[in-house]
């Protein structure tokens, strides 16, 4: 039925890998609620909540105090949506169809979660500082694969919007 969801190709092994990554992301966000993040974990979350007033640390800190927890809560809620979609698919017959249908209401959570996963991995790889990471780092393959998944989803979502511009 048109408008019920958008389909993207997804093999079972890919769905497993993505579900694992999203699960790690949910854990990272959950841990951020109970402990003060230090070291690299703190840096990972910093990239997800950048300073809004770089010239004014005090105003940035005020803004972060008022908004950061809510932002990370939204991140976690959306990551759980993605994880649940993947798990429901993994319980089903994705291996047969090779196709994952994402409900329209879940498309933005999917886009934002894939983009956030790339930011987290990029931070771990040091891509933000150094544009040419170690080509032998296995995480680089995951990062590029996530980019491919995100590109596919953007294309599918754009095509859905262009086909039904009045559907909202």
């Amino acid at each position: 039925m048109p408008g019920s969801g958008i389909g993207v190709p997804m093999q079972a092994i890919e769905a497993h890998q993505l579900a694992d990554l999203v699960g790690q992301f949910v854990s990272l966000l959950r841990d951020s609620e109970s402990v003060v993040q230090v070291g690299q974990d703190g840096q990972l979350l910093d990239r997800l909540t950048p300073a809004v007033y770089p010239q004014d640390p005090e105003a940035s800190a005020e803004f972060a105090a008022a908004t950061r927890d809510d932002l990370l809560d939204r991140r976690a809620a959306e990551a759980r949506i993605v994880r649940d979609d993947l798990e429901s698919v993994l319980d089903g017959d994705v291996a047969v169809s090779g196709q994952l249908t994402i409900p329209v209401a879940h498309v933005d959570p999917w886009l934002r979660t894939l983009a956030a996963l790339r930011l987290v991995i990029a931070t771990r790889l040091g891509i933000e500082d150094e544009p040419t990471p170690d080509p032998d780092d296995p995480r680089l393959g995951v990062y590029e694969w996530l980019g491919y998944r995100l590109e596919l989803l953007v294309e599918a979502a754009d095509a859905e919007d262009d086909a039904a511009p009045s559907a909202g």
Partner: protein
């Protein structure tokens, strides 16, 4: 010479009304991670910009390092900045002309 007693109040009101409505800017900065197609989609879907404008803004971010994506009251720009952060874009807010 003494001023009328009401003068300070009146002056205060006039001052408030005459205060320039300095607009604020939402700036999106280039980063090596976010995909070009994704950034265009964010500008289209969140701001409702036509595809051409969204693409021009994305290219400005990419080529110039940043672009002013929206202007308006400070509070509105802060709401936009939160939304951009939700999408993983690197967005900041500044007073126009800074």
């Amino acid at each position: 010479m003494s001023a009328p007693l009401v003068a300070p109040e009146v002056e205060e009101q006039v001052d408030l009304q005459a205060a320039p409505a300095v607009p604020w800017e939402l700036v999106v900065w280039d980063d090596p991670v976010n995909l070009m197609s994704y950034v265009v989609r964010v500008f289209r879907s969140y701001f409702g910009y036509p595809k051409d404008r969204a693409t021009r803004l994305m290219l400005a971010v990419h080529n110039d390092g940043h672009a002013i994506v929206a202007t308006g009251p400070r509070e509105t720009m802060e709401v936009h900045a939160q939304a951009m952060h939700d999408y993983g874009l690197w967005a900041t807010v500044r007073r126009a002309g800074e």
